[in-house]
Subunit: 502 residues, 2 copies
């Protein structure tokens, strides 16, 4: 596997992070006990190699054991044991984290959710899906499609990411502009606390104001407050019409103008609005089989504007008026309107395969930033200037969800070198803070950004987060070293016995 | 004032709830100190009378002091003082709680937010509103309208409820079906912790995945985890077209059929779908000036189906097809289509003035329930049977947000009698649990439902909620006796001095 190979050549690994002395080293006795509690498990070297490296090949851990629980009960039993023995645990879904959020740092036990992949209920009347956390996003969407429904989120990793991981990381993606965030769409959750207590809030009810909405804390907690085992999600009716245009623009100012123009003309049927720069398109043209430049000549910026609805004539007319207006006002330089589903898929591929295509060109430093929309591309240019001595400007690209002012900044390097890393961080976070942005829009903090949380959150907030963490996971066994800056816990005294209370 | 008079005749008051011994009685010295910290305040008997009784005239407290802070700084200073002295605090917005959530129980200090009512920013490009918590919902909507935007929530109390209270109670209302819940629309919050620490997450950024989303916990915490002082909210473009039909139906089964038919035909332009029974309409016809029966004869059920968009012809056509289909299939018995904005307002008034009209007929026991849609009206009928010995069936009505399966059950009694109360509770909660519903859909728990939380949440969840409460508000000064069942804290030892830590 290419990315295992790549990591062998160079990897930002656990050696940078000191082992927490309060966590126990995994012993053979631990492995025997866990194997009894969770009969599906593996110590196979190949499986462990995959589980111990992140999707980018940037981080590498040393877990000796993967558990594949097949029920909430098994997850609970494993966590209860690990809590009592103070063993670190990392939950892994599709293993598509871009911030090292699902990779062991030292010898944490890997909880791989792939066997928990049942669709439990599709309530067509209430438009609610209930399923296991290990279901793959794209498979859920395909299943829903058969009954005229669709998932309210969609992202590049849909073929492998799991809904539990989506919820745990508060994934955004291309449909957020239409359906809103998971904080509104997740109406019920089942999760297991660090001590093994199961919280079941699975429901098909859209509203429930009975006490603090604790499940909201789980959304975006990145596996560090509990393990999500089941999800109840609002699933909208699948639009029957798609009108998609791919536009070329001469500057980022024009991108912003096009955003406003599209919002005005398309309103409630606007279902995605994405941008990418020429550099990101170049990576796709070079590395993605079958891709071709959709325009006759090269432009510095491109956009996808997609409208989805239920009446073709009406939607097509609104899309036409948007395009006419944008052309008349010289906002767009050129554009193409997809004529059928093949063309729609082809144009989407130009945007959605950026991440994969960039990855084929080297080791990628990826930054996922929220920025005021006017500053989104200024950030890319600033990084090109900053890194000019070591990285060619063509190897730095920007793309993302312009409707959510969410920039994906990618820097392609021959390897994960300290030099590039040190030139980039914390500079990029500092600039983000100065621009009033957030250092993580939709990818979370994981291992990569945990040390930098203070660039986006105040000291008082970080302290309260730590207190919430201590309340939910007193022994700190869940996804250690991630999300929050590491503050080693004192080594437990011999007399401390696990009490079994949350 | 009518409802003060009513309360004097009969009031479910603090005598039922024992005073928490760990909270200090408010002394003259406390009042002098708080008056210095918050120069706008009142001990006026008339103002206190209003502040000490809830909107329904059901609960009555004995607060001796109202503070009207004019800045976050003043809120923080007051809370810091109250935390140190262990004085209970109740925050009051529009005082429109239907569960006694904003009424003092004993002598809690009232924090009235009306002076904090500035609109800080309307970012038209990002479609974000930033404002003080004390802004009144309707005034915000009117202000936004001048720039073509609108609030994502709308409810009957809009003329007096405040956005801070809306957020603190996770208000639902008639637009939730279109724009989703506040958990998605609130993108930033400023709040003050019980100890006076200010948390500022005000932003115009739509996405921020840097650590646990603590503000989500504030949404729906009912003033018991902190005091919300500023809100940043996504505000959508105001639709330019409204097509509204008011329908008559022969049974609740037909209401459900009409719901699905409307969802099918109107899809993304469906902006409200409400139902009400004949009994609720009768209250309006009898008590709401200018109202008249919209149909030639009486029907057991009525619905409002509203579509909002940006193209009149398209929207009107879809509404027509919905009506044609519903008539053809004999789902609806009769219907009227509003021809202009006056008719739209008139038809909405039939639904929106139910709460007020019912209130003019007696003392109202109000229940706000989430139920599987098939059971929504079964609940109303079950209560009519149950209460037949003491309440005429005509005085029990059901209405609400059928698109969210949210029933408002109203029982009109000559007074708030223990007999009606004891026949109703916990019976109604027990039946809700049996039906798989939630005992509070959108009104929260407040004082009224705090003892019944276990009907909707497990023991483990309630325990964790209490731990979260203890973490956020260690002295338990915020909205005491509300939300969670009262578990008296031990009286503080003399030696305990407030440490100023969260």
């Amino acid at each position: 596997r290419m990315w295992i190979r790549r990591c062998q050549s160079r990897c930002l690994s656990s050696m940078r992070i000191a082992r927490r002395p309060d966590l126990a080293a995994v012993s053979d006795e631990h492995i025997r006990s866990l194997s009894r509690l969770c009969p599906n498990n593996s110590r196979d070297e190949v499986f462990l190699a995959v589980a111990n490296i992140d999707w980018l090949g940037k981080y590498k851990g040393h877990s000796p054991l993967i558990l594949y629980p097949s029920s909430t009960h098994e997850v609970a039993a494993a966590l209860r044991y690990c809590s009592g023995k103070r063993l670190g645990v990392v939950v892994q879904g599709g293993n598509t984290s871009l911030v090292g959020g699902a990779t062991p740092v030292h010898d944490e036990i890997v909880l791989d959710m792939r066997r928990m992949n049942n669709i439990i209920e599709i309530d067509q009347e209430q438009q609610v899906l209930i399923c296991d956390a290990g279901c793959i996003l794209q498979q859920l969407d395909q299943k829903l499609e058969t009954v005229g429904l669709t998932m309210p989120l969609d992202l590049g990793a849909k073929g492998s990411c799991q809904i539990g991981g989506n919820v745990a990381t508060n994934a955004g993606g291309i449909r957020l502009v239409r359906y809103g965030s998971l904080h509104a769409n997740v109406i019920g959750l089942e999760w297991v606390m660090a001590n093994g207590t199961v919280f079941n809030n699975i429901t098909t009810l859209r509203k429930d104001n009975t006490g603090f909405d604790l499940k909201q804390l789980m959304i975006g907690s990145e596996g560090s407050l509990g393990i999500i085992t089941k999800v109840a999600l609002l699933v909208p009716r699948k639009p029957t019409t798609i009108n998609l245009s791919y536009l070329a623009l001469e500057s980022f100012d024009k991108v912003i103008e096009a955003l406003h123009c599209a919002r005005f003309h398309l309103g409630e049927i606007l279902s995605a609005i994405e941008f990418q720069d020429r550099q990101s398109l170049e990576f796709v043209l070079a590395n993605h089989p079958g891709s071709q430049d959709p325009m006759d000549k090269s432009y510095p910026f491109y956009m996808i504007v997609e409208a989805s609805g239920f009446r073709q004539e009406h939607d097509a007319d609104r899309m036409s008026r948007f395009l006419e207006d944008a052309l008349d006002r010289q906002i767009i330089a050129d554009g193409t309107l997809a004529q059928d589903s093949t063309q729609i898929a082809g144009l989407w591929a130009l945007r959605e395969s950026v991440a994969e295509s960039v990855g084929k060109s080297g080791s990628v430093f990826k930054y996922d930033l929220s920025l005021p929309v006017k500053d989104m591309y200024t950030m890319v240019e600033a990084m090109r200037t900053r890194l000019a001595p070591v990285i060619s400007p063509d190897l730095i690209c920007g793309y993302g969800h312009v409707g959510d002012s969410n920039l994906h900044l990618n820097i392609v390097s021959p390897e994960f070198s300290d030099k590039v890393q040190d030139l980039t961080e914390p500079f990029v976070y500092d600039l983000t803070r100065k621009m009033g942005g957030s250092i993580s829009a939709e990818h979370g903090l994981g291992l990569m950004k945990a040390p930098y949380i203070s660039y986006s959150k105040s000291e008082a907030q970080i302290r309260l987060m730590q207190q919430v963490k201590d309340l939910f996971d007193p022994n700190g066994i869940l996804n250690p070293y991630k999300v929050l800056p590491v503050a080693p816990k004192p080594e437990p005294a011999q007399s401390i016995i696990y009490q079994g209370k949350p």
